[in-house]
Symmetry: C2
């Protein structure tokens, strides 16, 4: 491994491949199409790892990302982000080259697309099953009917189905709460499917979120899953029960620059512009920006018990380190940190990562 002298994002290929394999096997078991969300890694190389598991279609969260992966050989892409009509020209260029699916949540935008799309494009309707970020309530069949009428009237628009991201699982406390959320989501989606399947025989129910897809064995009525984070996992996923710490496939490697024994703190070069400012709150009420691991021989250890990244400013991070491990980390050493939210950390570290 190249000598690390500044904050570096380590990607453990073996762990990532195992994570992909586990999800691909689960999808096969449940007869689901796996259309992984590539916003997590945004990397052509990591994307290529999915090919061996029979993955041919992906989800992304921006036109820019869709363009990037289209240039890297992906030709079946869903932009799983409510369409931004200001990017219609870019969308048209892309839809001329690949099989592209867009997301709508209003008749207004669907009408706009109907008037401005130049190529045949797939349309998913975004359904909100409780996350309340975007999407139509599954009970808002009036608006759904309006959207479907517009789609029906224009052969350039192909109705793909209903798409859900049950992002409220990220706020769950444990596995049971995640499964409860997923169960409720499935009930809503089943009703929708029942109502519309007769007129739209090929409609797909596309379901997102790493927590449910990792934990659930109930995918009744679902045709496609779009988890993204699972390739890396992270401390947040561990915290809510989606993975073990051993499954976390990425770690930050950061230089130790100072130590403060009087308060059991270790200062690292590595801050908000490397990790992001995402944190979880411990049961005792303190903020955790990452777990601490030891980097040794192209590998990292299990988390050091009770050690954590307790704060980040622009370039600095502060580690709270129990006294018994305090002297295992010295100025000039590289310490490892499992990130709280690997998607945001990967986004920040795009140009400073090493695959091990």
């Amino acid at each position: 491994m190249k000598k690390i002298i500044s904050p570096t994002f380590l990607i453990d290929k073996k762990k990532c491949l195992q994570n992909i394999k586990n999800m691909a096997l689960k999808a096969r078991r449940h007869n689901l199409k796996l259309s992984p969300h590539f916003k997590t890694h945004q990397s052509a190389e990591i994307g290529s790892w999915f090919r061996d598991f029979g993955i041919n279609s992906i989800a992304v969260s921006s036109v820019e990302m869709a363009n990037y992966f289209a240039k890297n050989g992906w030709d079946d892409i869903t932009i799983a982000f409510t369409v931004n009509i200001l990017e219609t020209d870019k969308i048209n260029k892309l839809a001329g080259n690949i099989s592209l699916n867009l997301l709508v949540e209003s008749a207004e935008v669907t009408e706009f697309l109907s008037n401005h799309l130049t190529y045949v494009t797939g349309i998913f309707i975004k359904i909100d099953t409780g996350y309340h970020r975007t999407g139509l309530s599954s009970e808002n069949t009036a608006e759904i009917d309006k959207i479907l009428a517009i789609i029906k009237s224009n052969p350039k628009l192909t109705f793909k189905g209903f798409l859900v991201h049950a992002g409220h699982t990220y706020f769950a406390k444990d596995k049971n709460e995640i499964l409860e959320i997923q169960k409720k989501t499935i009930v809503q989606l089943s009703r929708l499917k029942e109502k519309y399947i007769n007129n739209w025989h090929d409609l797909i129910i596309s379901y997102g979120d790493t927590p449910s897809c990792s934990l659930s064995e109930n995918f009744q009525g679902i045709n496609e899953i779009r988890p993204g984070n699972f390739v890396f996992y992270d401390v947040m996923q561990y915290h809510i029960g989606s993975c073990t710490t051993d499954e976390i496939g990425v770690a930050m490697a950061c230089p130790v620059i100072a130590k403060h024994p009087e308060r059991n703190e270790i200062v690292i070069y590595g801050g908000a512009i490397h990790f992001s400012k995402e944190f979880i709150t411990s049961d005792n009420g303190y903020k955790i920006f990452g777990y601490i691991v030891k980097i040794e021989n192209n590998n990292w250890s299990a988390p050091v018990p009770d050690a954590y990244l307790s704060s980040v400013s622009q370039e600095h991070g502060i580690i709270k380190m129990p006294e018994k491990y305090f002297y295992d980390f010295n100025v000039g050493d590289i310490t490892g940190i499992l990130p709280v939210h690997s998607c945001l950390t990967a986004n920040l570290m795009k140009n400073n990562s090493i695959i091990i």
Copy 2:
């Protein structure tokens, strides 16, 4: 202005120049050297704006940033970040080309530098006056004396003085608390200066943080100030009283992609990978990720009363918008958002900014 179709960072040059001018005038009034911190903008072009105000020396927070500004004509740079000894080779290359100052907070690291630096380099000792991130307590004169003894024994090391970043002003509730923190800091620095000035006639007291430098008129004993954020300011600075909203020199421009009248929410394309996840907490306990402004004719309005960016996920932002303004923002419009922490937003938006 170029047509905006995706999240874009707008920089109002007129406001920024006024902010620079105000700080330069204050520095002159108090006979202080202004050595602005360029981590806020990380931009050669914005850096060049400071030249007209007689600025010749700057602070940065990484070797990488020092290299960038050195390549862009800055030849007097303080890396205001405790030295990372793993980057000694890079430091040596840089110190051969420009006048470079480093920061230490231990005899151990000073000894390392003494053994490995190849060019004459300035050394500041980092003092912690209560922020408790990095630095030595001003009372820890035993360690300070050890550091000074090492510096004295090696002509390559030039003692520059004591450097403080009173970052705890960022957690202050109001102007009075900021001034109280600064007053206590000045007392500690004065004691240090008194103790060491006889042996080190040229020692500099270098003082940071935008809140104090914006609000205080008491710089007794201080020789140099290194505020950074003031060129842009942001919602956090407004919140603690360092600036007016009118002085905020940057705004994000983001497309409106959906509206949810049933909960007075507007969804924008613009999330954590554009804004960062920095937030302030309102008096009522809710999180604010930005204030909302209207973008009109190369300009933006005062904040829309009671409107705010209430959450951000990777690419989405949710705006809470009072009903009376709800219909002023439509799908396909561009809305403006004053960021909570302009340094982090500027870092994320480096490649998507427009100077207006």
